[in-house]
Symmetry: C2
Subunit: 232 residues, 2 copies
């Protein structure tokens, strides 16, 4: 898998250090697993720089909640606790609800057409039982919606949250739950309808219900995944 960039939530085009981006990608894509050691010296050799810039990037990632730096022991990829996942889905619901409401309040919404096309392609993906494509489209739908809210601070907080939710293993597995795919597409359509109707309250409400239900599935999926990963 060479190009993992298609899934990355960027929205930060203003000169972020390349090292930071690459390290973050390694974590959110699962190229390095929770518990793995990210030693400064080793990374410095891999990226052909000194320890200093590596160290700065790792400290940033610590602040983003993606790694844990234990003094004089090592820097490790972090795995969110069950409680944190629950908390983050509460936040996700709030963020995306806010975004939907803001979208419904905006005058012209160029992103609406993009969302409509997304739903159309999602229906195709469901019909073809292509869960991988569908997973990608779901991410794109939510990402487009938040970006369309036209609130950069919201986008920053949202990106922070989603990176920590480790998109892949937690969100992806959610969708394979039987029956949720069809419902999910219908809900996406309902969200678009509410936004088109310029009804902020309805848009927010529908969006939040949608996130809440998918969140429950996701938390359950994460719980189940834990049973497999760590029987303790």
């Amino acid at each position: 898998m060479q190009e993992t960039s298609t899934l990355g939530t960027k929205s930060k085009p203003d000169s972020e250090p390349p090292l930071l981006s690459r390290l973050r990608q390694m974590i959110v894509t699962g190229a390095v697993q929770p518990g793995d050691l990210l030693a400064e010296t080793a990374l410095a050799q891999d990226f052909d720089v000194s320890r200093t810039p590596i160290r700065e990037a790792l400290k940033q990632l610590e602040r983003e909640g993606l790694v844990e730096v234990r003094a004089r022991v090592g820097t490790f990829v972090r795995k969110p606790t069950q409680r944190e996942i629950h908390e983050m889905f509460e936040l996700k619901e709030s963020f995306e609800g806010l975004a939907a409401g803001l979208l419904a309040r905006r005058g012209p919404v160029p992103e609406l057409q993009q969302l409509r096309e997304n739903v159309a392609r999602s229906q195709e993906a469901v019909k073809n039982d292509d869960s991988e494509l569908y997973s990608h489209l779901v991410h794109e739908f939510h990402s487009t919606l938040v970006a369309g809210a036209d609130n950069r601070k919201l986008s920053e907080h949202y990106d922070l949250l989603m990176n920590q939710l480790a998109y892949h293993r937690i969100v992806s597995q959610t969708l394979s739950m039987p029956g949720r795919l069809q419902n999910s597409v219908k809900e996406h359509q309902a969200i678009i309808d509410a936004i088109s109707s310029k009804d902020p309250l309805a848009a927010e409400l529908v969006m939040r219900r949608h996130v809440a239900s998918s969140g429950q599935s996701a938390v359950l999926a994460a719980l189940h995944a834990d049973d497999i990963d760590q029987p303790g």
Copy 2:
């Protein structure tokens, strides 16, 4: 002014580097003003350490949006744009609305008594026309409410936001608007009532309306302050 800690939003007792906290305090309390240069060498001498830990702290503050590091030029205290202030108040409304709803959902809420006492003291402050005390109590009310939501991730995002909103000059000035003090106390009481009634929807709604109205005042106040600061 020795102890500025009474106003600091902590909620991060887990060993944050002291340097980072002190530098952050200097910014949010206004000890250093927007536009001021924070040179690594000078700070290193002030705090009697080398440039390295200073540098790490400044990079963190850059990520928190409090400073801007311009390569090979200098690190400067940042001032949020008008647009960012508007965006952040939209987020604040969402955060505190979420918190109020979560509080109303909780079983026992130990913080309720604390909030009631806060309102009582706020009434006293209004009666005595002590706007400084009142300003402090308002901050405490909102801070206590968010903390009571029992969602650490929410608290983290909230702290990030509030630090960037530069509590003092933006929020403080808001309250001196004539007539808002009495209204504000009534609204705080209404929020407590909704939470006590275990009515999450009402709690969130009242909270959001409260934040929204205070936000409008705050944005106007910031705009006015800009007229004074920079006529350009």
